[in-house]
């Protein structure tokens, strides 16, 4: 926990609702803190009090009124999962990205953009994960639709390197615009830290209460349950990772920086290997030599991506290939079997445990 450094946060939400005055906001915040009570959450809470300057858009045009529940549009699967933890069935929550789409490359259709423009709120991850939001957010802002950016809730870090070869992807990724991935930006996979997720839940609850103050007690009850589940998972991870002899995690996609930070592990990504690229022989040799020198027993491939490169390295060295799920997207089969954030993270934990 001590690794969190609370910096001055930029506004995490924009509010257009006249009924929420600054005083009322403080009241909301202190009531969240009062309700939660637990010391670790109080520390999160104090971060909100100290850090978040909340910008207030005092514009006049309210979003189109809808009968019944408010509509919340969400950029990708995981955040939908988190939003449902807090909102339950109090909101109509709609994930704009379809099941199975690649979070790095998907782009909304005009119809999806229309849908987002009619929502009462929009939630996205940020930190460069969904490159398409750059085009949509100015339009949402013009309509004063409250926007929640999960990446603003946590301390960003790590790098996200990948060797995407754009020459080979003209068919599927014309609009990929991978500025985040090919440079040295922060790792956008913030949700792979349970501690980050807990923070996001707190901010989400605050955001939802502002959106619909009448349902505050429901949101707070859900937050308490979600936060407790996060704590339980965190404890399980601590128990397993503290026993790991090998502190080096060889992964095909460097998505696990936050997870490694939380538990003092080191992530070594098979840099230059990516499902889209043609790996260079020299890089493969380096990877193979590294596996041999460190006597590693397992390479972690990323579910939802091709594992060809990792398979080649595993064949050569005779090490086991295990799957870590980055949770950027779930397949239909996983959804049908009722998988959610916690169940998939526990699968990841099991993969680590068998190391």
């Amino acid at each position: 926990m001590t690794s969190f450094i609370f910096k001055e946060k930029k506004p995490i939400l924009t509010v257009h609702d006249h009924s929420v005055s600054p005083d009322r906001r403080d009241f909301l915040r202190s009531s969240i803190l009062g309700f939660l009570g637990s010391s670790s959450l109080a520390r999160f809470g104090s971060a909100i009090v100290l850090g978040s300057g909340i910008a207030s858009f005092t514009a006049c045009a309210p979003p189109p009124k809808r009968e019944g529940k408010k509509l919340v549009c969400i950029s990708f699967f995981l955040l939908e999962n988190l939003a449902k933890i807090i909102a339950g069935d109090q909101f109509e929550i709609r994930c704009v990205m379809p099941v199975g789409a690649d979070v790095h490359t998907w782009e909304p259709s005009p119809k999806k953009i229309m849908e987002m423009l009619q929502a009462d709120a929009f939630l996205f991850n940020g930190a460069g994960l969904e490159t398409w939001t750059g085009k949509v957010i100015p339009q949402l802002q013009k309509r004063n639709i409250p926007i929640f950016e999960a990446a603003k809730c946590v301390t960003l870090g790590g790098t996200h390197l990948c060797g995407h070869d754009h020459a080979h992807e003209t068919h599927a990724h014309e609009n990929c615009g991978h500025d985040h991935a090919c440079g040295a930006g922060a790792d956008p996979h913030i949700w792979l830290s349970v501690r980050n997720v807990k923070r996001i839940l707190v901010y989400l609850a605050e955001f939802f209460i502002r959106l619909d103050p009448a349902r505050k007690s429901k949101f707070l009850a859900n937050l308490a349950a979600g936060a407790a589940e996060c704590d339980a998972l965190d404890t399980e991870f601590q128990a397993v990772t503290s026993r790991l002899e090998n502190r080096k995690l060889v992964v095909t996609h460097g998505a696990f920086w936050y997870l490694c930070r939380d538990y003092g592990l080191e992530q070594i990504s098979l840099e230059g290997y990516s499902p889209y690229s043609d790996p260079s022989p020299a890089q493969m040799v380096k990877i193979i030599d590294f596996i041999r020198q460190n006597q590693l027993k397992v390479i972690y491939a990323t579910a939802s991506e091709s594992t060809k490169g990792a398979e080649a390295a595993a064949r050569e060295t005779g090490v086991r290939l295990a799957i870590l799920h980055p949770l950027g997207t779930l397949s239909q089969a996983q959804i049908d079997s009722g998988a959610d954030y916690f169940s998939v993270m526990r699968e990841n934990l099991k993969a680590l445990e068998n190391d």
Binding site: G100, H168, H171, D278, P279, V285, S304
Partner: protein, 269 residues
């Protein structure tokens, strides 16, 4: 150890050299005929349209590799059929089939709910050739090479002038059918194994270089094969020592050598 031999202690590099060399022999054999028939772009086209086959396979629950090969065969026959409608513009048939394939992939892929399987059927790489793929390439090479030798005279006639070939008593329809089938299967399997870039350039660049050097059909063919085997192997070595992508390195080397040949033949005149 000699650094040049050092790299052969890795299985994956041995597979890369073997796979690369085999393909470097058979693809230019097909390539010369393809170029002479004005179908140079068929490699890129079939490699990309086979994605439609992958998507269909995933949607219908059939083996995507088989579906891709089948779709490639259909697309190749589509090109054969269409090019007869515009005899002077064979490349137009290729553009039409390419558009159809990519359009179909674009529409169908939005129904695919498991991107992992989709991506693993996209283009391969010389570096990640599996033992199964290597066996597949060996079998394919034997089949393609023997059919090519058997039909050597027939293909030679047809490549230059279909009408004259028909007059010479060659069963043009049957030979074309077999050749189209062979081309489609080779391109789709090779693209899945080593990537579309290597396949489409092996099809054209060696033939282009050899056409500047060879005075006869036979010598042009031999030059093309020597050119492609040489650039394939040197390119793989270079890509190891310069830490660059093998596909790109091999293609750049081929283009450089092609330019050198153009320059030399120019000077000799």
């Amino acid at each position: 150890m000699n650094p040049l031999l050092e790299i052969f202690q890795y299985d994956f590099l041995r597979s890369a050299f073997l796979t690369g060399t085999l393909l470097a022999v058979i693809i230019p054999c097909i390539g010369l005929t393809v170029v002479l028939k004005r179908l140079s772009m068929i490699g890129e086209t079939l490699a990309h349209t086979s994605l439609a086959g992958v998507t269909l396979g995933l949607l219908l629950g059939f083996n995507p590799t088989v579906c891709a090969a089948l779709y490639c065969v259909l697309a190749a026959f589509g090109i054969e059929l269409l090019r007869k409608h515009w005899p002077q513009y064979a490349e137009m048939a290729i553009a039409l089939i390419l558009s159809l394939g990519i359009g179909l992939t674009g529409v169908l892929s939005s129904f695919v709910t498991n991107m992992a399987s989709f991506q693993s059927f996209l283009f391969g790489s010389l570096i990640t050739v599996t033992p199964f793929e290597l066996k597949l390439v060996i079998v394919l090479s034997i089949i393609v090479f023997s059919i090519f030798l058997l039909l050597y005279r027939e293909l030679f006639y047809i490549a230059f002038d279909e009408a004259a070939a028909r007059l010479a008593g060659i069963p043009v329809g049957a030979v074309n059918f077999l050749f189209t089938l062979l081309t489609a299967v080779t391109i789709s399997l090779a693209a899945r194994t080593v990537g579309a870039l290597i396949v489409s350039s092996l099809l054209v660049i060696p033939a282009a270089a050899a056409m500047r050097l060879g005075k006869s059909y036979r010598f042009t063919l031999i030059f093309a094969v020597i050119f492609s085997v040489l650039t394939m192997n040197i390119g793989l070595f270079v890509s190891y020592f310069t830490e660059t992508q093998p596909g790109g390195t091999i293609v750049l080397l081929q283009i450089a050598l092609l330019l050198l040949i153009l320059l030399l033949t120019r000077l000799r005149k």
